[in-house]
């Protein structure tokens, strides 16, 4: 049970701590890596970037490793494959495993058998489906928690995918430096649009949550004006959204390539992405155990 005064259990919204404090911070990293791994692979498919696909594969490995690092009994990890019928952690674990396998085969074909386009396309389709699963499963993991109303929302899985694609495009923007100007600008413009959509989506999510119930409203208050507001406004909004949008727009829409601006913008998007996962996990609260009246 969480460290809290008994009285607070009865009358106050008590924040969840197991998945954010101490070792629990690994969950925020796992959700972040999973989101950008899936998002980056999907973006790389669209822009046909081999480097992006390979980095996505590495990030999927990082997702699995951070997930494992959170476990107190990592040697039993294989047991996590046993409950696919009901547990979203099991499903996510399967998505990660299958994505790593399918993407590895697809990348191997691309590298060592470039003529086998049909085979590569098949594995691209499979890897793409699993990448989407990797990007979205963490949204369902938290969305299933009915006691924390900020998380228990249909918007969360979609938000995590959009945030993942935005982060993936940020990495792709970093990785594409040195390629042709037209391609860099194309990726930068795509990144701008997705990032703008991600910002709007985040705002809608918070706005809708205030109408859900008092539990979710309490969480939103914590995000906007409470204990996690600094991280939200500074890291998620300013660093993760405003700064990269401001850096990309003047160059991308005037057909000017600025490696420095694009690299800084890409890095900012990633910092904002980890901030978003931290804020959502940190702001999750349980309703008071005892009815108020």
């Amino acid at each position: 049970m969480i460290q809290s005064k008994p009285w607070e259990f009865m009358v106050k919204y008590t924040p969840q701590r197991d998945w954010i404090e101490g070792h629990g911070i690994m969950v925020a990293f796992a959700i972040f890596f999973g989101g950008i791994a899936g998002g980056l692979y999907l973006a790389s498919l669209y822009y046909d970037s081999t480097v992006g696909m390979f980095v996505a594969w590495l990030l999927a490995m990082a997702t699995g490793l951070t997930d494992m690092a959170h476990l107190s009994k990592p040697r039993r990890f294989w047991r996590m494959l046993l409950r696919v019928k009901s547990s979203w952690i099991t499903r996510g674990f399967l998505f990660i495993t299958l994505f790593i396998g399918a993407a590895a085969i697809q990348l191997a074909i691309r590298q060592w058998a470039p003529g086998a386009t049909a085979a590569e396309t098949v594995f691209k389709v499979f890897a793409g489906i699993f990448a989407f699963g990797v990007a979205i499963y963490s949204g369902f993991v938290v969305g299933f928690v009915s006691g924390i109303k900020l998380w228990n929302s249909a918007i969360v899985p979609i938000l995590f995918v959009v945030a993942g694609v935005a982060g993936g495009l940020g990495i792709l923007m970093l990785a594409s430096q040195g390629e042709s100007a037209a391609r860099v600008l194309d990726i930068a413009r795509g990144c701008f649009y997705v990032l703008a959509g991600y910002a709007v989506f985040t705002a809608i999510y918070l706005w809708v949550s205030t109408y859900e119930n008092t539990n979710a409203r309490d969480s939103v208050t914590r995000i906007l004006t409470g204990e996690v507001s600094r991280v939200f406004w500074l890291v998620v909004v300013v660093v993760g959204m405003v700064l990269p949008l401001g850096l990309i727009a003047p160059y991308a829409f005037n057909a000017v390539v600025s490696p420095a601006a694009f690299i800084i913008a890409g890095a900012c998007i990633l910092v904002g992405g980890i901030g978003l996962r931290y804020v959502i996990l940190k702001a999750g609260v349980y309703s008071p155990l005892v009815p108020s009246e």
Partner: protein, 216 residues
């Protein structure tokens, strides 16, 4: 079918914490671990203020979220409704703790050193370790004293009626505020109390169908 449940009469509870200590002694619980708690507070506004005492533990929900989310099958539900954790299967992901809207689970991080670190285990603790190893790094929770229930049933005793077949917290309660019995038996005492005094469970809006009822 049998579905074990508990009824707690808040008008009888005096907040003596005997149930908390009985549970700790019964299961040789390690330091800082409590499977049940007593919450004491106030409700209402001046001048209509009243003191309230809730003895809380796992609700052994009929539709337990913790069982659904467990990725390894460590958290299980028996046919009689008791939800328990197989410590040998738990990976310590704590998803069950997050998913429980009642925050009724505990994570045991301890090093197994017992109550007197650096001084070894007392003879009493050694017995406890043999009976309940309490593996560090896994999740624990109230099990409605299933060992007592199973042993009692094997002897032909009735849980909730016979002491040797009933949960420790129930038999130790000096005011008999805690009742235990079969919720599926329409003639059981727990069912009678729930019907007559309109027993309610915590957060029934979550559709977990808790097996713990409170009488006000």
């Amino acid at each position: 079918m049998t579905r074990w449940g508990m009824v707690i009469d808040m008008k009888r509870c005096i907040g003596c914490y005997a149930c908390v200590l009985a549970c700790k002694a019964e299961h040789f619980l390690p330091p800082d671990i409590f499977w049940n708690r007593v919450l004491i507070g106030e409700k209402g506004k001046y001048p209509a203020v009243s003191k309230v005492i809730y003895s809380v533990r796992c609700n052994h929900c009929a539709e337990p979220k913790c069982v659904d989310v467990c990725p390894t099958g460590a958290t299980q539900q028996r046919e009689d409704g008791i939800v328990w954790v197989d410590e040998t299967k738990c990976v310590g992901c704590r998803y069950c703790m997050i998913a429980c809207p009642y925050q009724a689970r505990s994570f045991y991080e301890g090093d197994g050193e017992g109550y007197f670190p650096g001084q070894g285990l007392t003879p009493h603790e050694e017995i406890g370790h043999a009976l309940y190893p309490h593996e560090p790094g896994v999740v624990q929770k109230c099990v409605f004293c299933k060992e007592r229930i199973d042993a009692g049933l094997a002897q032909g005793l009735v849980p909730g009626v016979d002491r040797d077949a009933s949960p420790a917290c129930m038999i130790v309660c000096p005011t008999m505020a805690i009742k235990f019995g079969d919720l599926d038996d329409p003639y059981s005492e727990v069912n009678r109390l729930i019907k007559e005094r309109k027993g309610v469970g915590f957060h029934e809006e979550y559709d977990t169908k808790p097996s713990l009822y409170y009488l006000d």
